[in-house]
Protein backbone atom coordinates (compact mmCIF):
# COMPACT_ATOMS: atom_id res chain seq x y z
CA UNK A 1 0.00 0.00 0.00
CA UNK A 2 1.16 3.51 -0.55
CA UNK A 3 2.07 5.72 2.37
CA UNK A 4 0.01 8.49 0.83
CA UNK A 5 -3.30 6.91 1.83
CA UNK A 6 -4.48 7.22 5.40
CA UNK A 7 -7.60 5.18 4.72
CA UNK A 8 -7.86 2.37 2.24
CA UNK A 9 -11.02 0.36 1.74
CA UNK A 10 -10.72 -2.51 -0.72
CA UNK A 11 -13.47 -4.79 -2.04
CA UNK A 12 -15.58 -4.15 1.02
CA UNK A 13 -18.56 -6.41 1.56
CA UNK A 14 -20.76 -5.16 4.34
CA UNK A 15 -24.01 -6.78 5.38
CA UNK A 16 -26.76 -5.87 7.80
CA UNK A 17 -28.51 -8.74 9.49
CA UNK A 18 -28.32 -12.03 7.62
CA UNK A 19 -28.91 -11.30 3.97
CA UNK A 20 -29.22 -7.61 3.41
CA UNK A 21 -26.11 -6.38 1.57
CA UNK A 22 -25.33 -2.76 2.28
CA UNK A 23 -22.00 -2.42 0.44
CA UNK A 24 -20.50 -4.66 -2.24
CA UNK A 25 -17.09 -4.24 -3.90
CA UNK A 26 -16.70 -0.84 -2.34
CA UNK A 27 -13.38 0.91 -2.93
CA UNK A 28 -12.42 4.11 -1.18
CA UNK A 29 -9.23 5.85 -0.23
CA UNK A 30 -8.46 8.99 1.67
CA UNK A 31 -5.10 10.57 0.91
CA UNK A 32 -2.88 12.35 3.34
CA UNK A 33 -3.76 16.04 3.71
CA UNK A 34 -6.97 15.97 1.72
CA UNK A 35 -10.60 16.50 2.60
CA UNK A 36 -12.67 13.62 1.31
CA UNK A 37 -16.43 14.05 1.43
CA UNK A 38 -18.74 11.10 1.31
CA UNK A 39 -22.19 11.85 -0.07
CA UNK A 40 -25.11 9.56 -0.69
CA UNK A 41 -28.86 9.36 -0.26
CA UNK A 42 -30.51 8.55 3.03
CA UNK A 43 -30.15 4.86 3.78
CA UNK A 44 -27.27 4.39 1.37
CA UNK A 45 -25.10 3.37 4.31
CA UNK A 46 -22.78 6.35 4.78
CA UNK A 47 -22.78 6.12 8.54
CA UNK A 48 -22.38 2.34 8.35
CA UNK A 49 -19.35 2.82 6.12
CA UNK A 50 -17.89 5.24 8.66
CA UNK A 51 -18.49 2.68 11.38
CA UNK A 52 -16.59 0.09 9.39
CA UNK A 53 -13.71 2.50 8.81
CA UNK A 54 -13.67 3.37 12.51
CA UNK A 55 -13.46 -0.32 13.32
CA UNK A 56 -16.76 -0.31 15.19
CA UNK A 57 -18.30 -2.80 12.79
CA UNK A 58 -16.69 -5.89 11.34
CA UNK A 59 -17.08 -6.14 7.57
CA UNK A 60 -18.26 -9.41 6.02
CA UNK A 61 -15.46 -9.28 3.46
CA UNK A 62 -12.72 -7.16 1.95
CA UNK A 63 -10.14 -5.15 3.82
CA UNK A 64 -10.15 -1.82 5.63
CA UNK A 65 -6.83 -0.26 6.47
CA UNK A 66 -6.34 2.93 8.44
CA UNK A 67 -2.73 4.13 8.57
CA UNK A 68 -1.88 0.78 7.06
CA UNK A 69 -3.36 -1.14 9.97
CA UNK A 70 -6.12 -3.65 9.34
CA UNK A 71 -8.61 -3.58 12.22
CA UNK A 72 -9.05 -7.34 11.98
CA UNK A 73 -5.47 -8.42 11.55
CA UNK A 74 -3.37 -5.80 13.32
CA UNK A 75 -1.88 -6.47 16.74
CA UNK A 76 -3.47 -4.79 19.75
CA UNK A 77 -0.55 -2.39 19.96
CA UNK A 78 -0.72 -1.38 16.30
CA UNK A 79 -4.46 -0.84 16.56
CA UNK A 80 -4.12 1.30 19.66
CA UNK A 81 -1.47 3.44 18.02
CA UNK A 82 -3.54 3.82 14.86
CA UNK A 83 -6.55 4.84 16.94
CA UNK A 84 -4.51 7.53 18.67
CA UNK A 85 -3.74 9.01 15.27
CA UNK A 86 -7.38 9.59 14.38
CA UNK A 87 -10.12 11.74 15.85
CA UNK A 88 -13.85 11.36 15.42
CA UNK A 89 -16.58 13.95 15.63
CA UNK A 90 -19.86 12.14 16.20
CA UNK A 91 -23.05 13.58 14.83
CA UNK A 92 -24.49 14.34 18.25
CA UNK A 93 -21.18 15.07 19.89
CA UNK A 94 -21.08 11.92 22.07
CA UNK A 95 -19.55 13.91 24.91
CA UNK A 96 -19.28 12.03 28.18
CA UNK A 97 -22.22 13.48 30.03
CA UNK A 98 -20.82 12.83 33.50
CA UNK A 99 -17.61 14.79 32.78
CA UNK A 100 -17.19 18.52 32.42
CA UNK A 101 -16.09 20.13 29.16
CA UNK A 102 -12.51 20.35 30.43
CA UNK A 103 -12.44 16.72 31.52
CA UNK A 104 -13.95 15.62 28.22
CA UNK A 105 -11.13 17.24 26.26
CA UNK A 106 -8.50 16.09 28.76
CA UNK A 107 -9.79 12.50 28.70
CA UNK A 108 -7.94 11.21 25.60
CA UNK A 109 -4.76 12.99 26.70
CA UNK A 110 -4.86 11.42 30.13
CA UNK A 111 -5.68 8.01 28.68
CA UNK A 112 -2.68 8.18 26.36
CA UNK A 113 -0.46 8.71 29.43
CA UNK A 114 3.00 10.24 29.24
CA UNK A 115 2.01 13.86 29.87
CA UNK A 116 2.00 15.57 33.24
CA UNK A 117 -1.05 17.43 34.44
CA UNK A 118 0.35 20.87 33.60
CA UNK A 119 0.98 19.85 30.02
CA UNK A 120 -2.52 18.36 29.79
CA UNK A 121 -3.95 21.62 31.11
CA UNK A 122 -1.99 23.65 28.59
CA UNK A 123 -3.13 21.47 25.70
CA UNK A 124 -6.76 21.44 26.81
CA UNK A 125 -6.79 25.21 27.12
CA UNK A 126 -5.11 25.54 23.74
CA UNK A 127 -7.73 23.24 22.20
CA UNK A 128 -10.58 25.14 23.80
CA UNK A 129 -9.09 28.36 22.46
CA UNK A 130 -8.77 26.81 19.00
CA UNK A 131 -12.49 26.08 18.91
CA UNK A 132 -13.19 29.57 20.27
CA UNK A 133 -14.21 28.62 23.79
CA UNK A 134 -13.07 30.39 26.92
CA UNK A 135 -11.28 28.59 29.76
CA UNK A 136 -14.27 29.18 32.05
CA UNK A 137 -16.46 27.12 29.70
CA UNK A 138 -14.41 24.15 30.85
CA UNK A 139 -16.42 23.88 34.04
CA UNK A 140 -19.76 23.34 32.27
CA UNK A 141 -21.39 19.98 31.89
CA UNK A 142 -22.41 18.80 28.42
CA UNK A 143 -26.10 18.98 29.39
CA UNK A 144 -25.75 22.75 29.81
CA UNK A 145 -24.27 23.39 26.37
CA UNK A 146 -26.03 24.58 23.24
CA UNK A 147 -25.89 22.46 20.10
CA UNK A 148 -23.15 24.55 18.54
CA UNK A 149 -21.03 24.40 21.68
CA UNK A 150 -21.43 20.63 21.90
CA UNK A 151 -20.06 20.39 18.36
CA UNK A 152 -17.12 22.62 19.18
CA UNK A 153 -16.24 20.81 22.40
CA UNK A 154 -16.52 17.53 20.57
CA UNK A 155 -14.20 18.88 17.88
CA UNK A 156 -11.74 19.99 20.55
CA UNK A 157 -11.82 16.47 22.01
CA UNK A 158 -11.34 14.92 18.57
CA UNK A 159 -8.33 17.18 18.01
CA UNK A 160 -6.81 16.65 21.44
CA UNK A 161 -4.27 14.09 20.29
CA UNK A 162 -3.26 16.12 17.21
CA UNK A 163 -4.75 13.51 14.89
CA UNK A 164 -3.60 12.94 11.34
CA UNK A 165 -7.10 11.90 10.31
CA UNK A 166 -10.28 13.55 11.44
CA UNK A 167 -13.60 11.88 10.72
CA UNK A 168 -16.67 14.08 10.77
CA UNK A 169 -20.20 12.73 10.70
CA UNK A 170 -22.55 15.49 9.58
CA UNK A 171 -20.45 18.27 11.12
CA UNK A 172 -22.96 21.02 10.42
CA UNK A 173 -26.23 19.16 10.94
CA UNK A 174 -28.40 20.93 13.47
CA UNK A 175 -26.52 24.22 13.32
CA UNK A 176 -28.02 27.41 11.95
CA UNK A 177 -26.49 28.70 8.69
CA UNK A 178 -24.37 31.27 10.48
CA UNK A 179 -23.08 28.74 12.99
CA UNK A 180 -22.38 26.12 10.35
CA UNK A 181 -20.53 28.70 8.26
CA UNK A 182 -18.38 29.53 11.28
CA UNK A 183 -17.84 25.85 12.03
CA UNK A 184 -16.66 25.27 8.47
CA UNK A 185 -14.30 28.26 8.71
CA UNK A 186 -13.02 26.86 11.99
CA UNK A 187 -12.17 23.51 10.44
CA UNK A 188 -10.62 25.27 7.48
CA UNK A 189 -8.43 27.40 9.75
CA UNK A 190 -7.41 24.43 11.89
CA UNK A 191 -6.45 22.54 8.77
CA UNK A 192 -4.18 25.39 7.73
CA UNK A 193 -2.47 25.36 11.12
CA UNK A 194 -2.18 21.59 11.51
CA UNK A 195 -2.13 19.41 8.47
CA UNK A 196 -4.63 16.60 8.86
CA UNK A 197 -6.77 14.59 6.52
CA UNK A 198 -10.52 14.79 6.85
CA UNK A 199 -13.12 12.22 5.94
CA UNK A 200 -16.59 13.62 6.32
CA UNK A 201 -20.19 12.80 5.63
CA UNK A 202 -22.41 15.74 4.89
CA UNK A 203 -25.61 16.72 3.12
CA UNK A 204 -24.79 20.37 3.29
CA UNK A 205 -23.75 21.61 -0.16
CA UNK A 206 -22.18 24.78 1.21
CA UNK A 207 -20.00 22.84 3.62
CA UNK A 208 -19.04 20.50 0.84
CA UNK A 209 -18.20 23.29 -1.56
CA UNK A 210 -16.14 25.17 1.02
CA UNK A 211 -14.06 22.36 2.40
CA UNK A 212 -13.72 19.43 0.12
CA UNK A 213 -10.84 18.40 -2.09
CA UNK A 214 -12.47 15.26 -3.41
CA UNK A 215 -15.97 13.81 -3.30
CA UNK A 216 -17.03 10.19 -3.25
CA UNK A 217 -20.61 9.35 -4.14
CA UNK A 218 -22.08 6.31 -2.43
CA UNK A 219 -25.02 4.75 -4.28
CA UNK A 220 -26.09 1.30 -5.43
CA UNK A 221 -23.94 -0.37 -2.76
CA UNK A 222 -20.62 1.09 -3.89
CA UNK A 223 -18.79 4.29 -4.74
CA UNK A 224 -20.13 5.24 -8.15
CA UNK A 225 -17.95 8.28 -8.62
CA UNK A 226 -14.92 9.68 -6.88
CA UNK A 227 -12.89 12.71 -7.77
CA UNK A 228 -12.79 16.49 -7.66
CA UNK A 229 -16.10 18.24 -7.33
CA UNK A 230 -16.29 19.42 -10.94
CA UNK A 231 -15.50 15.92 -12.20
CA UNK A 232 -18.12 14.23 -10.08
CA UNK A 233 -20.88 16.75 -10.75
CA UNK A 234 -21.28 15.65 -14.36
CA UNK A 235 -21.81 12.00 -13.54
CA UNK A 236 -25.06 10.82 -15.13
CA UNK A 237 -26.35 8.88 -12.09
CA UNK A 238 -29.75 10.05 -10.93
CA UNK A 239 -28.63 10.72 -7.37
CA UNK A 240 -25.70 12.87 -8.51
CA UNK A 241 -27.93 14.85 -10.86
CA UNK A 242 -30.51 15.45 -8.14
CA UNK A 243 -27.98 16.21 -5.46
CA UNK A 244 -25.77 18.65 -7.35
CA UNK A 245 -28.10 19.67 -10.15
CA UNK A 246 -31.11 20.89 -8.19
CA UNK A 247 -31.77 24.52 -7.46
CA UNK A 248 -29.95 24.33 -4.18
CA UNK A 249 -26.94 22.79 -5.84
CA UNK A 250 -26.74 25.43 -8.52
CA UNK A 251 -27.06 28.19 -5.96
CA UNK A 252 -24.34 26.72 -3.77
CA UNK A 253 -21.81 26.40 -6.56
CA UNK A 254 -22.46 29.64 -8.38
CA UNK A 255 -21.03 31.87 -5.70
Amino acid sequence: MSAENVVEVRKLLNTVGKNHVLHRDLELEVRRDEVMTLVGGSGSGKTQLLRVILGLKRPAGGSVRVFGVDWQRGSANEIRRARQRMGMLFQNGALYSALTVYENVAFPLRERKGLDEDAVRAIVNAKLAQVELEPQHGKLLPANLSGGMVKRVSLARALALSPELLILDEPTAGLDPDRSERFVQLIKRLREEQRFAVLMVTHDLDTLNDLTTRVAVLADQHIIACGRLDEVRDHPHRFVQNFFGGDRGRRAFEG
Binding site: A3, F67, G68, Y96, S97, A98, R112, G114, L115, D118, A119, R121, A122, I123, V124, N125, A126, K127, A129, Q130, P135, K139, L141, P142, A143, A160, L161, S162, E193, Q194
Partner: protein
Protein backbone atom coordinates in the same frame (compact mmCIF):
# COMPACT_ATOMS: atom_id res chain seq x y z
CA UNK B 1 5.77 5.40 8.57
CA UNK B 2 7.38 3.97 11.67
CA UNK B 3 10.62 5.93 11.67
CA UNK B 4 9.61 8.84 13.87
CA UNK B 5 12.91 10.69 13.93
CA UNK B 6 13.46 11.39 17.57
CA UNK B 7 13.26 14.96 18.71
CA UNK B 8 16.79 16.17 19.05
CA UNK B 9 18.45 19.27 20.22
CA UNK B 10 22.07 20.36 20.01
CA UNK B 11 23.42 22.90 22.40
CA UNK B 12 26.32 24.29 20.44
CA UNK B 13 28.53 26.80 22.15
CA UNK B 14 28.22 30.19 20.56
CA UNK B 15 30.38 30.85 17.55
CA UNK B 16 33.35 32.70 18.96
CA UNK B 17 32.14 35.41 21.30
CA UNK B 18 28.43 35.13 20.42
CA UNK B 19 25.85 33.80 22.91
CA UNK B 20 25.19 30.04 23.00
CA UNK B 21 22.81 28.75 20.36
CA UNK B 22 20.31 25.94 20.82
CA UNK B 23 19.23 24.30 17.62
CA UNK B 24 16.04 22.30 17.76
CA UNK B 25 15.26 19.83 15.04
CA UNK B 26 13.57 16.51 14.39
CA UNK B 27 10.03 15.38 14.98
CA UNK B 28 8.57 17.17 17.97
CA UNK B 29 5.53 15.02 18.32
CA UNK B 30 4.28 12.98 21.26
CA UNK B 31 5.96 9.87 19.91
CA UNK B 32 9.16 11.68 18.98
CA UNK B 33 9.32 13.10 22.51
CA UNK B 34 8.67 9.74 24.11
CA UNK B 35 11.48 8.19 22.08
CA UNK B 36 14.06 10.78 23.14
CA UNK B 37 12.81 11.50 26.64
CA UNK B 38 15.97 10.70 28.60
CA UNK B 39 18.33 12.48 26.20
CA UNK B 40 16.13 15.57 26.18
CA UNK B 41 15.95 15.78 29.95
CA UNK B 42 19.74 15.59 30.13
CA UNK B 43 20.21 18.27 27.49
CA UNK B 44 17.63 20.51 29.11
CA UNK B 45 19.44 20.46 32.43
CA UNK B 46 22.64 21.30 30.57
CA UNK B 47 20.98 24.21 28.84
CA UNK B 48 19.56 25.47 32.10
CA UNK B 49 23.09 26.10 33.37
CA UNK B 50 23.36 29.01 30.97
CA UNK B 51 21.45 32.16 31.85
CA UNK B 52 18.10 31.75 30.08
CA UNK B 53 18.10 35.25 28.63
CA UNK B 54 21.34 34.84 26.74
CA UNK B 55 20.38 31.71 24.88
CA UNK B 56 19.49 31.86 21.25
CA UNK B 57 16.91 29.35 20.16
CA UNK B 58 16.65 28.21 16.58
CA UNK B 59 13.54 26.17 15.87
CA UNK B 60 13.86 26.14 12.10
CA UNK B 61 14.95 22.50 12.02
CA UNK B 62 11.64 21.12 13.32
CA UNK B 63 10.00 18.80 10.81
CA UNK B 64 6.82 18.06 12.70
CA UNK B 65 5.28 19.69 15.73
CA UNK B 66 2.19 18.67 17.69
CA UNK B 67 0.67 19.91 20.92
CA UNK B 68 2.77 17.75 23.19
CA UNK B 69 5.95 19.03 21.53
CA UNK B 70 4.72 22.60 21.55
CA UNK B 71 3.99 22.47 25.27
CA UNK B 72 7.45 21.03 25.95
CA UNK B 73 9.07 23.80 23.93
CA UNK B 74 6.87 26.50 25.38
CA UNK B 75 8.04 25.54 28.87
CA UNK B 76 11.69 25.50 27.89
CA UNK B 77 11.38 28.80 26.07
CA UNK B 78 9.51 30.58 28.83
CA UNK B 79 12.33 32.99 29.65
CA UNK B 80 14.08 33.01 26.32
CA UNK B 81 14.50 36.28 24.51
CA UNK B 82 15.84 35.39 21.13
CA UNK B 83 13.82 32.75 19.33
CA UNK B 84 13.76 31.94 15.66
CA UNK B 85 10.54 30.21 14.77
CA UNK B 86 9.40 29.31 11.29
CA UNK B 87 6.11 30.90 10.33
CA UNK B 88 4.12 27.66 10.23
CA UNK B 89 4.89 26.73 13.84
CA UNK B 90 4.24 30.12 15.39
CA UNK B 91 0.53 29.68 15.95
CA UNK B 92 0.71 26.33 17.73
CA UNK B 93 3.55 27.54 19.95
CA UNK B 94 1.66 30.69 20.84
CA UNK B 95 -1.42 28.65 21.75
CA UNK B 96 0.60 26.25 23.87
CA UNK B 97 2.30 29.04 25.81
CA UNK B 98 -1.03 30.78 26.34
CA UNK B 99 -2.50 27.50 27.51
CA UNK B 100 0.25 27.24 30.10
CA UNK B 101 -0.57 30.70 31.40
CA UNK B 102 -4.22 29.97 32.17
CA UNK B 103 -4.37 29.91 35.96
CA UNK B 104 -5.25 26.69 37.68
CA UNK B 105 -8.66 26.43 39.32
CA UNK B 106 -8.45 27.73 42.85
CA UNK B 107 -9.18 25.01 45.37
CA UNK B 108 -12.07 25.80 47.64
CA UNK B 109 -10.92 26.63 51.16
CA UNK B 110 -12.14 24.79 54.23
CA UNK B 111 -15.44 26.13 55.50
CA UNK B 112 -15.60 25.95 59.30
CA UNK B 113 -19.40 25.85 59.15
CA UNK B 114 -19.54 22.99 56.65
CA UNK B 115 -21.51 20.77 59.02
CA UNK B 116 -24.22 23.40 59.44
CA UNK B 117 -24.30 24.02 55.70
CA UNK B 118 -24.51 20.31 54.93
CA UNK B 119 -27.30 19.80 57.47
CA UNK B 120 -29.24 22.75 56.11
CA UNK B 121 -28.79 21.54 52.53
CA UNK B 122 -29.99 18.07 53.52
CA UNK B 123 -33.03 19.59 55.22
CA UNK B 124 -33.89 21.71 52.20
CA UNK B 125 -33.38 18.68 49.97
CA UNK B 126 -35.76 16.63 52.08
CA UNK B 127 -38.33 19.42 52.04
CA UNK B 128 -38.08 19.67 48.25
CA UNK B 129 -38.54 15.92 47.89
CA UNK B 130 -41.56 15.95 50.19
CA UNK B 131 -43.10 18.89 48.36
CA UNK B 132 -42.61 17.25 44.97
CA UNK B 133 -43.90 13.96 46.32
CA UNK B 134 -47.05 15.54 47.69
CA UNK B 135 -47.41 17.38 44.42
CA UNK B 136 -47.29 14.14 42.42
CA UNK B 137 -49.62 12.40 44.85
CA UNK B 138 -52.17 15.16 44.33
CA UNK B 139 -51.75 14.96 40.57
CA UNK B 140 -52.26 11.20 40.76
CA UNK B 141 -55.46 11.68 42.75
CA UNK B 142 -56.74 14.07 40.10
CA UNK B 143 -55.83 11.57 37.38
CA UNK B 144 -57.59 8.73 39.19
CA UNK B 145 -60.67 10.91 39.52
CA UNK B 146 -60.47 11.73 35.82
CA UNK B 147 -60.14 8.08 34.81
CA UNK B 148 -62.99 7.12 37.14
CA UNK B 149 -65.28 9.57 35.36
CA UNK B 150 -64.17 8.41 31.93
CA UNK B 151 -63.46 4.69 32.31
CA UNK B 152 -62.68 4.38 28.62
CA UNK B 153 -59.41 6.20 29.21
CA UNK B 154 -58.16 3.53 31.59
CA UNK B 155 -54.71 2.54 30.35
CA UNK B 156 -55.56 -1.17 30.29
CA UNK B 157 -52.71 -2.23 28.04
CA UNK B 158 -50.04 -0.58 30.17
CA UNK B 159 -51.71 -1.93 33.29
CA UNK B 160 -51.73 -5.54 32.20
CA UNK B 161 -48.18 -5.28 30.87
CA UNK B 162 -47.12 -3.79 34.20
CA UNK B 163 -48.84 -6.51 36.24
CA UNK B 164 -47.23 -9.19 34.11
CA UNK B 165 -43.76 -7.65 34.34
CA UNK B 166 -43.83 -6.82 38.04
CA UNK B 167 -45.86 -9.85 39.04
CA UNK B 168 -45.55 -12.99 36.96
CA UNK B 169 -41.89 -12.57 36.04
CA UNK B 170 -41.02 -11.82 39.67
CA UNK B 171 -42.57 -15.04 40.95
CA UNK B 172 -39.63 -17.45 40.63
CA UNK B 173 -37.22 -15.32 42.61
CA UNK B 174 -39.67 -14.16 45.29
CA UNK B 175 -41.07 -17.64 45.81
CA UNK B 176 -37.59 -19.12 46.10
CA UNK B 177 -36.63 -16.50 48.68
CA UNK B 178 -39.91 -17.06 50.52
CA UNK B 179 -39.37 -20.82 50.58
CA UNK B 180 -35.85 -20.43 51.99
CA UNK B 181 -36.90 -17.87 54.59
CA UNK B 182 -39.73 -20.20 55.65
CA UNK B 183 -37.19 -22.98 56.18
CA UNK B 184 -34.80 -20.77 58.16
CA UNK B 185 -37.51 -19.29 60.34
CA UNK B 186 -39.03 -22.67 61.17
CA UNK B 187 -35.66 -24.15 62.00
CA UNK B 188 -34.82 -21.33 64.37
CA UNK B 189 -38.13 -21.37 66.22
CA UNK B 190 -38.33 -25.16 66.25
CA UNK B 191 -34.98 -25.36 68.04
CA UNK B 192 -36.16 -22.98 70.75
CA UNK B 193 -39.68 -24.34 71.13
CA UNK B 194 -38.57 -27.99 71.32
CA UNK B 195 -36.75 -27.13 74.55
CA UNK B 196 -40.01 -26.14 76.20
CA UNK B 197 -42.01 -28.94 74.62
CA UNK B 198 -44.19 -26.37 72.85
CA UNK B 199 -43.64 -27.88 69.43
CA UNK B 200 -47.05 -27.01 68.02
CA UNK B 201 -46.53 -23.30 68.69
CA UNK B 202 -44.18 -23.25 65.72
CA UNK B 203 -47.24 -23.11 63.50
CA UNK B 204 -48.46 -19.98 65.26
CA UNK B 205 -45.13 -18.21 65.10
CA UNK B 206 -44.28 -19.08 61.53
CA UNK B 207 -47.85 -18.74 60.28
CA UNK B 208 -48.46 -15.26 61.69
CA UNK B 209 -44.93 -14.11 60.95
CA UNK B 210 -45.04 -15.19 57.34
CA UNK B 211 -48.57 -14.22 56.45
CA UNK B 212 -48.68 -10.93 58.25
CA UNK B 213 -45.10 -9.65 57.97
CA UNK B 214 -42.55 -11.57 55.98
CA UNK B 215 -44.53 -12.40 52.85
CA UNK B 216 -45.45 -8.80 51.99
CA UNK B 217 -42.08 -7.54 53.15
CA UNK B 218 -39.99 -9.93 51.07
CA UNK B 219 -42.17 -9.41 48.04
CA UNK B 220 -41.91 -5.63 48.24
CA UNK B 221 -38.16 -5.58 48.87
CA UNK B 222 -37.60 -7.72 45.81
CA UNK B 223 -40.07 -5.58 43.87
CA UNK B 224 -38.09 -2.48 44.89
CA UNK B 225 -34.94 -4.06 43.49
CA UNK B 226 -36.54 -5.42 40.32
CA UNK B 227 -39.43 -3.19 39.33
CA UNK B 228 -38.50 -0.04 41.21
CA UNK B 229 -35.07 0.22 39.65
CA UNK B 230 -36.50 -0.60 36.22
CA UNK B 231 -39.13 2.13 36.52
CA UNK B 232 -36.59 4.73 37.61
CA UNK B 233 -34.17 3.77 34.87
CA UNK B 234 -36.88 3.80 32.23
CA UNK B 235 -38.23 7.21 33.20
CA UNK B 236 -34.68 8.51 33.60
CA UNK B 237 -33.69 7.44 30.10
CA UNK B 238 -36.89 8.95 28.77
CA UNK B 239 -35.79 12.18 30.38
CA UNK B 240 -32.32 11.87 28.85
CA UNK B 241 -33.75 11.24 25.37
CA UNK B 242 -36.32 14.03 25.81
CA UNK B 243 -39.25 11.61 25.42
CA UNK B 244 -40.84 13.10 28.54
CA UNK B 245 -40.68 16.54 26.97
CA UNK B 246 -42.19 15.11 23.78
CA UNK B 247 -45.15 13.77 25.79
CA UNK B 248 -45.65 17.12 27.49
CA UNK B 249 -45.57 18.92 24.17
CA UNK B 250 -48.30 16.65 22.84
CA UNK B 251 -50.40 17.73 25.80
CA UNK B 252 -50.33 14.29 27.41
CA UNK B 253 -50.21 14.26 31.19
CA UNK B 254 -47.03 12.51 32.31
CA UNK B 255 -48.57 11.38 35.56
CA UNK B 256 -51.63 9.84 33.96
CA UNK B 257 -49.76 8.16 31.10
CA UNK B 258 -46.54 7.08 32.78
CA UNK B 259 -46.91 7.20 36.55
CA UNK B 260 -50.48 6.09 37.10
CA UNK B 261 -50.31 2.77 35.18
CA UNK B 262 -47.06 1.81 36.88
CA UNK B 263 -48.29 2.66 40.36
CA UNK B 264 -51.59 0.86 39.94
CA UNK B 265 -49.96 -2.12 38.23
CA UNK B 266 -47.54 -2.64 41.12
CA UNK B 267 -50.33 -2.10 43.67
CA UNK B 268 -52.24 -4.92 41.94
CA UNK B 269 -49.26 -7.19 41.32
CA UNK B 270 -47.60 -7.02 44.73
CA UNK B 271 -50.46 -8.58 46.78
CA UNK B 272 -50.56 -11.45 44.30
CA UNK B 273 -46.81 -11.92 44.55
CA UNK B 274 -47.01 -11.67 48.34
CA UNK B 275 -49.70 -14.36 48.36
CA UNK B 276 -47.46 -16.71 46.38
CA UNK B 277 -44.55 -15.88 48.63
CA UNK B 278 -46.71 -16.78 51.66
CA UNK B 279 -47.51 -20.12 50.07
CA UNK B 280 -43.87 -20.91 49.31
CA UNK B 281 -42.77 -19.92 52.81
CA UNK B 282 -45.47 -22.09 54.39
CA UNK B 283 -44.44 -25.03 52.24
CA UNK B 284 -40.88 -24.58 53.45
CA UNK B 285 -42.14 -24.40 57.03
CA UNK B 286 -44.19 -27.54 56.55
CA UNK B 287 -41.18 -29.46 55.28
CA UNK B 288 -39.00 -28.46 58.20
CA UNK B 289 -41.80 -29.15 60.69
CA UNK B 290 -42.09 -32.64 59.27
CA UNK B 291 -38.39 -33.43 59.46
CA UNK B 292 -37.39 -31.76 62.72
CA UNK B 293 -40.52 -31.85 64.85
CA UNK B 294 -42.32 -34.73 63.21
CA UNK B 295 -45.46 -32.70 62.53
CA UNK B 296 -47.22 -34.27 59.57
CA UNK B 297 -48.18 -31.89 56.74
CA UNK B 298 -51.84 -32.81 57.21
CA UNK B 299 -51.67 -31.85 60.89
CA UNK B 300 -49.87 -28.64 59.96
CA UNK B 301 -52.60 -27.74 57.46
CA UNK B 302 -55.27 -28.53 59.98
CA UNK B 303 -53.70 -26.44 62.73
CA UNK B 304 -52.90 -23.46 60.54
CA UNK B 305 -56.41 -21.90 60.35
CA UNK B 306 -56.78 -22.22 64.11
CA UNK B 307 -53.37 -20.71 64.81
CA UNK B 308 -53.54 -17.87 62.33
CA UNK B 309 -56.71 -15.84 62.23
CA UNK B 310 -57.88 -14.95 58.74
CA UNK B 311 -57.64 -11.24 59.52
CA UNK B 312 -53.86 -11.60 59.57
CA UNK B 313 -53.95 -12.72 55.98
CA UNK B 314 -56.01 -9.72 54.97
CA UNK B 315 -53.71 -7.39 56.86
CA UNK B 316 -50.78 -8.88 54.94
CA UNK B 317 -52.53 -8.47 51.60
CA UNK B 318 -53.63 -4.93 52.45
CA UNK B 319 -50.11 -4.00 53.41
CA UNK B 320 -48.75 -5.35 50.12
CA UNK B 321 -51.13 -3.08 48.23
CA UNK B 322 -49.73 -0.11 50.12
CA UNK B 323 -46.14 -1.31 49.66
CA UNK B 324 -46.61 -1.80 45.93
CA UNK B 325 -48.03 1.67 45.62
CA UNK B 326 -45.16 3.13 47.65
CA UNK B 327 -42.41 1.34 45.72
CA UNK B 328 -43.74 2.40 42.32
CA UNK B 329 -44.48 5.90 43.53
CA UNK B 330 -40.99 6.46 44.92
CA UNK B 331 -39.45 4.94 41.78
CA UNK B 332 -41.46 7.28 39.55
CA UNK B 333 -40.62 10.23 41.74
CA UNK B 334 -36.88 9.62 41.37
CA UNK B 335 -37.18 8.68 37.71
CA UNK B 336 -38.75 12.02 36.84
CA UNK B 337 -36.03 13.89 38.72
CA UNK B 338 -33.18 12.43 36.70
CA UNK B 339 -31.18 15.09 34.88
CA UNK B 340 -30.08 14.49 31.30
CA UNK B 341 -26.74 12.88 32.06
CA UNK B 342 -25.54 9.38 32.84
CA UNK B 343 -24.25 10.19 36.32
CA UNK B 344 -27.58 11.52 37.47
CA UNK B 345 -29.25 8.39 36.12
CA UNK B 346 -27.00 6.15 38.21
CA UNK B 347 -27.55 8.25 41.33
CA UNK B 348 -31.31 8.34 40.70
CA UNK B 349 -31.64 4.56 40.44
CA UNK B 350 -29.56 3.96 43.56
CA UNK B 351 -31.55 6.48 45.58
CA UNK B 352 -34.81 5.12 44.26
CA UNK B 353 -34.10 1.58 45.43
CA UNK B 354 -32.74 2.67 48.82
CA UNK B 355 -35.59 5.10 49.44
CA UNK B 356 -38.32 2.71 48.39
CA UNK B 357 -37.02 -0.03 50.70
CA UNK B 358 -36.77 2.49 53.53
CA UNK B 359 -40.24 3.70 52.73
CA UNK B 360 -41.63 0.16 52.82
CA UNK B 361 -40.08 -0.53 56.22
CA UNK B 362 -41.34 2.78 57.53
CA UNK B 363 -44.87 1.98 56.34
CA UNK B 364 -44.60 -1.45 57.89
CA UNK B 365 -43.73 0.05 61.26
CA UNK B 366 -46.68 2.41 61.02
CA UNK B 367 -49.02 -0.49 60.20
CA UNK B 368 -47.60 -2.53 63.08
CA UNK B 369 -48.43 0.25 65.52
CA UNK B 370 -51.86 1.02 64.10
CA UNK B 371 -52.94 -2.64 63.92
CA UNK B 372 -51.36 -3.83 67.15
CA UNK B 373 -54.72 -4.90 68.63
CA UNK B 374 -55.98 -6.67 65.53
CA UNK B 375 -55.46 -10.38 64.86
Amino acid sequence: MGEAAAALEIAAGGAGDGPPRVRVHGEWTFRGLAAAKAALARQLSEIERHPARELQWDLSGITALDDAGAVWLARALREARSIEVPERHQEILRQASEGLLVPREARKGFDPLWAVVALGAAGINLAVHLRDGVNMLGQLAIDVFHVARQPRETPLLELSAGVFRAGVTALPVTMLVGFLVGIVLTYLSALQLARYGADLLVINIVGVGVVRELGPMLASIIAAGRSGSAITAQLGVMRVTEEIEALSVMGISITSRLVLPKVIALAIALPLVAFCTDLAALVGAMLVAKFTLGIAPAAFMEALPRAVEVVNFWIGIGKSVAFGFAVAFVACHYGLRVLPNTDSLAVGVTRSVVSSITCVILLDAIFAILLRNVG
